[in-house]
């Protein structure tokens, strides 16, 4: 009995240690392969995203960045004819065994084009909260979310106005605020600044920097400067394969592969 108890404790301890290890790696991707019909988009990707850091995924158009991102909260299931092999672990749990709605609450997403709902700003932020009937102080949620997205100062008097009346940059930050309302652990950003002007872009980048530490952020971007400025780690995808992964400074200054070097210096599109 005693020995078994001790063993059990020991195994628990091991598990706890494992968990501790895994806390540093919020999301682990193991051997991910994605097919659209017969077309293989991602070819065996192994990748970890560390907790509380910003990881940028870069690569030329059509290399599967967005597909990879959409797999992380199972948005790929909305696309017809999309098949997937491999494992994705969120905090040690396989996301394909989870309820997709619970998963999407934990892993929020911001899209390329700002897509506020045709409702008021307040209703936009409370949409996720109302969708799961979460009981909380609505006013406080609205305020804290807007503050985190650096919008509270601009919008505190206009909360009941339509979200469609905002500028594009404000709309995109509103979308970030909206995804924060359901208390996610991970935020996926799919080229969030691609349709914004330079000023809005820098504001958006500032709010991404501000959210560092609290949320694990994964950002797909075409903009090298943005990747350098915002991210802690960089993953370079090319032709559906993971070419290089490492700390931002290392990847940009001392790339290990020729393709990475070419892409970073603008020779490879």
């Amino acid at each position: 009995m005693k020995t078994s108890e001790i063993e059990a404790q020991a195994s628990e301890g091991k598990e706890a240690k494992k968990k501790e290890n895994r806390v540093h790696q919020e999301i682990e991707i193991k051997g991910l392969e994605v097919f659209y019909g017969n077309n293989q988009v991602l070819k065996g990707i192994d990748l970890n995203f560390p907790t509380g850091k910003v990881t940028a995924i870069i690569g030329p158009s059509g290399c599967g960045k967005t597909t990879l991102l959409r797999c992380l909260n199972r948005m790929h299931e909305l696309t017809e004819g999309c098949k997937l092999k491999g494992q994705i672990l969120l905090g040690g749990e396989n996301i394909f065994n989870m309820d997709p709605m619970l998963l999407r609450r934990k892993v929020g997403m911001v899209f390329q084009k700002p897509n506020p709902f045709p409702k008021s700003i307040r209703d936009n932020i409370l949409y996720g909260v109302n969708a799961i009937n979460l009981k909380c102080d609505h006013d406080r949620v609205v305020r804290s979310c807007l503050e985190k997205a650096a919008l509270w100062g601009e919008l505190k008097d206009r909360i009941h106005d339509s979200a469609l009346a905002l500028s594009l940059g404000q709309q995109q930050r509103l979308c970030i605020a909206r995804s924060l309302a359901v208390a996610p652990e991970v935020i996926l950003l799919d080229e969030p600044a691609s349709s914004l002007d330079p000023v809005s872009t820098s504001t958006l980048e500032a709010s991404i920097m501000e959210m560092k530490g609290e949320y694990t952020q994964i950002i797909v971007t075409h903009n090298m400067n943005e990747a350098i400025k915002v991210s802690d780690y960089v993953a370079f995808l090319y032709m559906g394969k993971l070419m290089e992964y490492g700390e931002t400074q290392t990847v940009f200054n001392h790339p290990a592969r020729q393709e990475t070097k070419d892409y970073v210096t603008g020779k490879l599109y």
């Binding site: 909260n73 948005m75 909305l78 709605m101 619970l102 998963l103 999407r104 609450r105 929020g108 997403m109 899209f111 084009k113 897509n115 506020p116 709902f117 045709p118 949409y127 996720g128 109302n130 969708a131 799961i132 106005d161 339509s162 469609l164 009346a165 979308c175 909206r178 995804s179 359901v182």
Partner: protein, 467 residues
Amino acid sequence: MNIKNATKSSSNYVNSTMNNDVRKPSRVLEKVILIITLFISGLAVLLGIFSLSLNNLEIFPVPVFGILAICLLILFLYMRHVKGKKDWKVVVFCGLSLIALILLRILPEYLYGLNINGIIHRSLISGLLLISIALPSFCFTLFYFLGASPKASDLSHYPVIILPILLMLILYGIIIVRVFQNGAPNINWHMLITPYRWQDFQQETWQNNWPQWINQSIHQTGIRNYILGTLLLMLLTSIISLPIGIAVGIYITEYSRGLLANIIKVSCSVLKSMSVFILGLTAVSLVTYSSGTFLSKIFDGYFLDANGNWHLANGSFITAALIISLLVIPIIARATEEGIRSVPLNLKEGSTALGASRQHTLFHILLPWSYPNIVTGLILGCAEAAGSLATIWFISGSGEFGVSPLSPVTSLTYFIYLCRGDYNLSFRKVEGAWEYSSALILIVITVGLSITALVLKRKLSQRQREA
């Protein structure tokens, strides 16, 4: 090379314009020729429209074609000699009008089809020829008249677009004026609030413990019940078909992508295109098969006579609404489908990415977005219900016994039919042309519905899609 060519052509252009300036064609002569041609071709188009329906205009087309051909020839010669432009279109239409002239001279007055009964009068053909030849001539004469610039070529296509619209408007105008002329003078308040009753009956009374029958008659004329019946029919139809139609639309777009969805789609379009008399027969069978069961009171409908006894009728408002719903459900389903399909994908994805369930997305994003479409579909369906006669023809009653969901069904359209058809003699005692008055009221109801739909749609879409 290209550049050289371009410069060459532009220099040519400059030369030609300069040449034109040197020649200085007389503007007045040109205008006169163009105006005459315009006038003749416009006249020919009008003549064509009228000779589609009037046989006694047949002496005109031949000379008109002749004058048109001469005018076009003069126009061509003028263009060629004075401006140096050869516009072969003009010659082609000149030749075409000459051919049409000869054809009309050759044609006998009546053309026979396969048997002697298929008769086409010559003026119909002359009308078609006039429109198809004179309208293009009018257009390119207008093009020259407006100065032969790119803008002029744009404007000169307007008559082709405007003419059919004009014809349609004229038709509408004829209908409205005719109905208004005949119907409006007869409408009065008394007629609107009195139910129609024309009954001779024996009333049972009790005197000294013995029944006595007294002959009585109620003769009152009015169309209250028909108006209320139409409104009730619209209401019941929309109550039945709105939820079902929306559900079908949602199911087709969101929940089913396989064989079943295709079957539903096909059956919807079949229902829409099916002859309404078949549905009328369905209504009859609904009434006859239910007789004797507990459903008979619902499907047959019943009314009370003067003595307070109830009798089964031919068919109730509920039956009629059910049958008309078969026509209206496809309309609403289609509208819902269109509305949901028009929702931007990124809104749907945004909702899903926030962890919202499918239902939540449906009720908070998709359906609010498609409200305007659904409203349009509903109003179209209501108009269908208000205007349908064939579906309820076999089961309609004379409307003398009140209006409630279980009363015998009746509506304005059926009343119009009764007024025109002379098999029911009692309805001929109606004074004046009441069918036109009822038609006018029907038009007012339908137009009112359409205006409501427009206003509602605009309001809903403002709330949804704009600021």
